[in-house]
Amino acid sequence: MKRPVTLTINGTFHRFESQPGELLRTALRRLRFFSLKHGDETGESGSDALLFSRTPDNPTSYRLVNSGVLLASQADGASIVTLEGLEENEADRFNSPVSALQQQFIECGAIQCGYCTPAQILAAQDLLDREPHPSEAAVRTAIAGVLCRCTGYVKPVQAILRAAAQLRGESTHPPQIDVRDAPTTGEWPADSAEGLPPSNGWHDGGPDTRTQTQSVTVTLAPPQTQVVNRPEPKVDAFKLAKGRPVFTDDVELPGMLYAGLLTSPVAHARILSIDASEAMAIPGVHAVQTYADLPRVIYASGGQSYPQPPPYDQVSLDSKVRYVGDRVATVAAETPELVQEALERIRVEYEVLPAVFSPEDATQPGAPVIHDEDDAQMIHDPACNIAVKLRVDHNDVDEALSSATFVFESEYRVHQVQQASIEPHVVITFWDEDDRLVIRTSTQVPFHVRRMVAPLLGLPVRRIRVVKPRIGGGFGGKQEMLIEDLCAHLTIATGRPVKFEYTRQLEFSSARTRHPQWLRFRSGIDADGKLVAMDVRVVADTGAYGTHGLTVQMVTGFRALSTYWLPSARFDCDVVYTNKPVPGAFRGYGAPQALFGLEQHMEEMALAYGMDPVDFKRLNWVKEGQSLPMAIAMGEGREGFPQTVQSNGLAECVEAGATSIDWERRYDPAWKAPSDRPNIRRGVGLAICMHGTGIAGLDMGAASIKLNDDGSFNLLVGATDLGTGSDTVLAQIAAEALGVPLEQILIYSSDTDFTPFDTGAYASSTTYISGGAVLKAAEDVSLQIRRHAAAHLLDGADAEQLWLENKHILAPDGGSVSLETLALHSIHQEEQHQIMATASHMSYVSPPPFAAQYAALEVDTETGQLTVEKAVMAVDCGVAINPVTASGQVEGGMTQALGYALCEEMPYDEKGRLQIGRFGDYRILAADEMPVLDTILVQTYEPTGPFGAKAVAEIPMDGMAPAIASAIYDATGVRIREIPFTPERVWRALRNSLDKD
């Protein structure tokens, strides 16, 4: 029964009715305080934190608490402050004031996806109210309860310390990003020949959409840019700092129903019957859907280009379940409580089948067949549970190995982890006034979702609009058409808007994860230590469904066999079904698995052969001008295209990182074995990494640019900003090419009705591919502007000789006209037309970024506990379009990579039930336990990228685990070939080595 609750919110008295079980967060969001975010049900994410007092007369009595672990009724009589109330003149939308904290969060780049930003700012405010001079440690403690999956906490901490200084009246400046140029290897492009407009550094051969790949031979200074390569604040930072309602869930539609999912409690079973009558009988329950209610359409859920890579082994709801957490039935009802009641009253009768939880067991003769349905397509060998088999040979590996001077073989194992974005998967579907289905969803791939969901719903693509608002992190987990189909089916069945949001428990059990793998490397070298062959065997676990199983493992093979140059190579891989939650895309996409094995294999081989591991790697790593032979054989689920490395700052990265980590300490016995702590050993480790930039010959992005009356521009892109800052980077590229400051570019992205196509945010492609499209569109618009100016406003000028700079069109003779004058003239006065262009871009090359990752750590030899003291990444990402967002990518990626190496884990019991269901048990690193992170951007100039850019988003994920393995070996002499390095695993390894001795 509802009871009245009175509550002072941001100084205003509120009285509302609340169900006894309603959470304070739910009640406040119902009252449109949308800055409180749902991250989990158990309070560990802290994204719903607010300031709370039962004695508001005492202003120091406010405390930071989580509104998701308080009942609304508990707050009866209390006073609270949310981010919306932090600013006294919040209502002043004309002048848009920001507080010191908000300003510093914006300027320091502390906001990536922005989902945890409101809680972080409130936590910081709470600290600064009590302590105007906080130490860094105090800041980290204050925000430790607000988990962030994007930033690695470096920039939020910097922002809070600077806000404190600003509030004390001290002058502050944004933190410096360590950006260095590596001009000795990458050559800067030729600047413009005399008389021509300043070059943007772009090498494009004309009207087709392809990147041309001629190398540039003139060595000059880096291009002089006004907007690109500068630390511009993110274009979406302001609204995120304000906690404005910009995420999928931040809307209330009239008549909206809530959806829920019933999942399988058993790992493998046939559904004999489902009785939903009791659930349907509950007043307020509008739909229950089971396999019997939905059309059976076979699909593959990975968000990828048409045609989807096989296998096609899923249907929306099936009569068989294949893992604990698999989809059984959905419910739509008027409240979340009714949804829960209905789910609990659905009676399902299962015929439980034997289940297998490892590729070893799944491929035994007589193992239960997971995909025995007769309509699945393109499964390699369903009877043996092999989803995909990959075999790639480049020259004769066996011959090369048999004639090698030295052959080394080693095996590694990597485990399952989850993307764990703080915003769960969430989607809202509704019919619009034209009876078109609108899908508002937290996705990385809006255009793929529209194409993929259409046949499942029986709707033509034209009747579906997919909108991606701001999203709270993805990391690959949302490169999937995961729940849009289920939600849309409920809207179709009920005619009502429906919202479907995963709980954290569902995220762990029923979203996507990283593929576990077993890897065996066998390599041969000649007498000089040069690799002559490498043979890589991988057995990967794709869980119950194939989704990204083919392509992730192909990337594993490509990365394993391309980072070092190989005259001959073989990749032999089985991707196996098991009765486990499903791996999919996760930042790095097969590369972190490959490099965990590869980097240790190289180090072990060097030591076994008697070479310095770093020298050995340097001798063999791929050099500028070298081709990547595996690229042709291993495209993304199809034939690839030839690749030649045109920029490589790896040598500089290794050098810069070594200085930062103080590599020479590894030779200092006093540091390695501190005399006052006999159980401690210290070590330093290195891994090098190489990644890709987009998928060659496949990824395509498009952009439209339109000139407005005042000389500003609308930039419409299909590209999908997950919080990475891609909207900002794309706007910077447009601003640079159009000679205007960033504020003149109004970007709108990821709406299938209003923006041109883009494959989406994955494969480290957006800056390079979508950025290429933006640059082309901008150049087209620039030409249209210059032509109009030459024809009408700068008499006698040659359009080719004009250039755009500082919101003006300039002529070599000193003539000038403002963009605003030009815009008004072209729209209203003469030869009236809309200056506008659309361009597409794709690339047959995928220039690799390179990096060196270092870790310094201590090992407690009695307990096995590791403490990473410092992690360094020096990365060659080409020219960083925005050094702040680029370094933010590195810091956040390294933090996830540390979690992969140290503490994140998805353990199961013997029945395949996940043993973790909440943050905490699934440990992602908090602000107060981070090692020192150092990021160095070592810039090269990539001739095929916009303004010389390559990718940076995924490579931070790749090398941390092997760097830590290397550091453990340096510290203890013990090699651990399996992650995560939990205390017990390290302890056992140390003990085993003692036993052997």
């Binding site: 029964m1 009871r3 169900q19 006894p20 079980g21 309603e22 959470l23 049900e41 158990t42 309070g43 560990e44 802290g46 405390r63 930071l64 608490v65 989580n66 672990v69 308080l70 009942l71 009724s73 508990q74 009866d76 936590a123 403690t141 204050a142 430790a144 309860g145 607000v146 409240t335 979340p336 409580e337 949804v339 829960q340 609990e344 709980t503 428990q505 407690d860 009695e862 307990t863 096995g864 506990q865 403490t867 140290l902 503490c903 884990e905 353990p907 043993q915 973790i916 269901g917 909440r918 905490g920 440990r923 690193l925 908090a926 107060d928 336990e929 939990t982 205390p983 017990e984 302890w987």
Partner: protein, 268 residues
Amino acid sequence: MAILAEYHRPQSLSQALELLSDRRSRRLPLAGGTHLVPALETRQCREVDGVVDLADIDLSFIEQEGNCLRVGAMTTLTDFVQHPVCVSMAGGILPRTARFEGPQNLCNAATVGGLIALAEPDSELFAALLALDATIVAVSGDQSENVKSFEDYISSRPRPRRPADLITELRLPLAQFEGGHARVARTPSDRCIVAAVAVQVVIRVSSQMPSNPPKGVRIGLCGVGPLPLLAGSALNPPDDFKGSAKYRRTMSEIVRQRALACLSNDRL
């Protein structure tokens, strides 16, 4: 989703006890909510009709009474460990172990009574209270008060307490303590796999140094049983993904020794 039919906020202890002892409805006491509300929300805790919020009962206090510190059960963990007496007690063992109860936003809501009622196996703060030889005051349905040592409290579990038994107070002895603490965890702020908290009453004979070897040392251990326990009692370690029973058993001895070593080093 939390499905609750009733929410009560009694104004007195007797009202609360009455609500809780009424067998016609299944009710649970609600303190800070950081454990119960998630348990309701995730439906781990289902067989409940209502909650009895203790917020308006005067159980949030910290008072010194003789050689004892009385801490009301509704005192938040933050208020508790930041109290001047607690900050310095046994070399700061309370704030030090409280860090691992969770970040500030949870400790600002979680209560001392909740901590005791849950007695989570990896609660280092609970282990510290056990080592400090604190006592627990509870009131039963007939309003009779019973006082129990932590030792008796844990040895009487996991037998269910009578439903109407309500923890009202924690009593900490005030003496000169030294404290020692050691732990093993996946990450620096993670809840422990195993941990030990050692506490020793400093016996000063005139102006001499504390006695050596240490006497009267109490050690609370985490991660080696269904709830924290006193070193010396039989270990019954869990066997899970954070640590096997064998590992926990071996580590418990190492952390025990390290916690003891902290005592003699005077270094927490």
